[in-house]
């Protein structure tokens, strides 16, 4: 049985929030709700895309998932435990080992002399043995596609994309049950983007861990995520499968988001009366659907 199936069997949500709200500058004239009444359940082993305009509350929400922020009201459960409960509160640090958070531009947080030491920092804080730390550092480097020869290099001598992969490895090395990445591909070229996301998908499939991917790229979300959480003005607008979320073209555009290019084209084709599928959001799906229709029509194309 793969890790994923095993986790799915135990039906407890890995992360669950109940009426979670967070006010910034509470009690002052600048009081502002960053998130308001958010109730979501994230099942173990899911790959979830998180989208929302700037200031929609995405970052505030994910910082609650690993206990970096304490809610103003409402509850948050990680693996069934209320993390801010009186008796769990003092172990809040453990939550950060269970839920690993990779911030935006994480390469700016590298600080050690060597790549190895930087990746070993998190596992070291967990009080693991030297051997165990070694195993995990090597495993993490492997996951992000960094060859062994980089271990003794200074992280500051690496390229931007490599530095970012070191930073991600540092979080993966803690073997978190949940891996959250806040825009891991910002500023990367298309190839670098595909490489990092491909590695994250591989990691997800091999370990069965839950992954949350925050991104402004609808194309990337469509390609990698199974479900999408849409934040809008501090609230959850939608939390559903990729197909159903991207079928809401107009609503998403209105809230400052968008849908993948091919979804827009297929939307226009449907509006014009063509019997194209409603659930198209990647080039692969679009190609298959058009070929299906051509085949049904008979004639054109080798298909």
């Amino acid at each position: 049985m793969t890790g994923k199936e095993e986790r799915l069997r135990t039906n407890v949500a890995i992360i669950k929030t109940e009426h979670l709200s967070h006010l910034y500058s509470a009690g002052t004239p600048f009081e502002k709700a960053a998130i308001e009444d958010v109730s979501v359940e994230i099942e173990p082993g899911e790959f979830i895309g998180v989208i929302g305009h700037t200031g929609s509350g995405k970052s505030t929400l994910i910082q609650h998932f690993n206990g970096l922020l304490q809610p103003t009201s409402g509850k948050i459960y990680v693996d069934g435990k209320d993390i801010w409960d009186e008796k769990n509160k003092k172990n809040i640090r453990d939550v950060r080992f269970q839920v690993g958070l990779v911030f935006q531009y994480p390469e700016y947080q590298l600080f050690e002399e060597t790549v190895y030491k930087d990746i070993a920092f998190g596992p070291g804080n967990m009080g693991l043995s030297k051997e165990e730390i070694h195993t995990r550092v090597m495993e993490a480097m492997d996951f992000v596609g960094l060859k062994g020869k980089y271990a003794e290099k200074s992280p500051f001598d690496l390229s931007g994309g490599q530095k970012r992969r070191v930073a991600i490895a540092g979080v993966i090395a803690m073997r978190p049950k949940v891996l959250i990445l806040d825009e891991p591909t910002a500023g990367l070229d298309p190839k670098g983007r595909d490489k990092i996301l491909g590695q994250i998908r591989e990691y997800h499939q091999q370990t069965g861990s839950t992954v949350l991917l925050v991104s402004h790229s609808m194309e990337d979300i469509a390609k990698y995520a199974e479900k999408v959480l849409v934040m809008n003005h501090a609230k959850v607008f939608d939390y559903d499968t990729v197909e159903r979320v991207f079928s809401k073209n107009e609503e998403l555009t209105r809230m400052g988001l968008s849908v993948p290019q091919v979804s827009k084209v297929f939307h226009q084709l449907r509006a014009a009366g063509y019997p194209v599928s409603e659930n198209v959001y990647t080039v692969d799906q679009a190609e298959a659907d058009i070929l299906r229709l051509l085949k049904a029509k008979g004639g054109a194309g080798r298909a």
Partner: protein, 280 residues
């Protein structure tokens, strides 16, 4: 058409102590015409940002030369003129905003240049109107969205009335709405005010709006052409670590399968039209 920026045999290398220098730009010849909207593409580390930094003398060539409106960027005496002619906007809006009030931020460079106060007032208002941020002139920049902040940064540059604006991945950190706002501003700047624009981007759907695309790889310009000419070379673009718009890729793949669709589709509307014809 007049060349506003002209690079000839441009070489650039970073000097490292006790080690071999790193060659970043290798014999580049490129020109940007007056009034043109050019997109510059290339993977991370290709040298495109280094190239852009030569356009207003932030960097100077190791050998070869760069002329801005006929003036050599290595000419220290004209440094101010060059910087005023070619303004730059960077990726992170938070690193470019210096003042606590929007209009003061836009006025910053003008104050440094010693422009008359009434003239500053006039230019700041005009620049803010151009980027559609006039109503926010008395706001604090940190309360604005990323797209709004980036438009303030653009206003700060155009207040100097440059002939050319170079933008280095200005939308990389923005959400889809912010990206749309900034792209629209850039296009209007070019179309309505005749400002020459050089846009460095990783977003192929932004590059399709340019007059011309320049692709940089391994420190050299490898292809230039209209977006249509560039993106129809799907295989070549992928080899270079780049991408093409989703709609271009879809039509390309359908054509590979033998379907009669054009191979130079670059916009959503063109794609819809091509597919309608195919399915009709």
């Amino acid at each position: 058409m007049k060349d506003l920026i002209l690079a000839e045999h441009l070489h650039f290398e970073y000097v490292r102590e006790e080690e071999e220098n790193i060659l970043v730009l290798n014999d580049i010849d490129v020109s940007i015409h007056q009034g043109e909207f050019v997109a510059i593409l290339g993977h991370n580390g290709s040298g495109k940002s280094t190239l852009a930094k030569h356009f207003n003398a932030v960097l100077l060539p190791t050998s070869g030369r760069v002329l801005v409106d006929g003036v050599d960027t290595a000419d220290q005496e004209h440094l101010f003129d060059i910087r005023q002619k070619v303004g730059m906007v960077f990726q992170n809006p938070d690193n470019q905003i210096v003042a606590t009030i929007v209009e003061e931020d836009v006025a910053f460079a003008l104050e440094n240049l010693g422009v008359e106060p009434e003239e500053i007032r006039r230019r700041v208002d005009e620049a803010l109107k151009t980027v559609d941020m006039y109503e926010f002139k008395e706001h604090a920049p940190h309360q604005l969205s990323g797209g709004q902040k980036q438009r303030i940064a653009i206003a700060g540059v155009i207040a100097m009335r440059p002939e050319c604006v170079v933008l280095d991945e200005p939308t990389a950190m923005l959400d889809p709405k912010g990206r749309r706002e900034v792209l629209r501003t850039v296009m209007e700047l070019n179309r309505d005010y005749g400002t020459t624009v050089a846009l460095i981007t990783h977003y192929m759907d932004e590059a399709v709006h340019a007059d011309r695309v320049i692709v940089v790889d391994h420190g050299d310009v490898v292809i230039t052409g209209t977006p249509r000419e560039i993106f129809s070379q799907v295989e070549k673009m992928k080899e270079l670590g780049l991408d093409v718009p989703q709609v271009t890729e879809l039509c390309y793949r359908l054509k590979q399968e033998g379907a009669p669709v054009p191979d130079d589709v670059i916009t959503e509307d063109e794609c819809t039209a091509a597919l309608e014809q195919l399915l009709a």
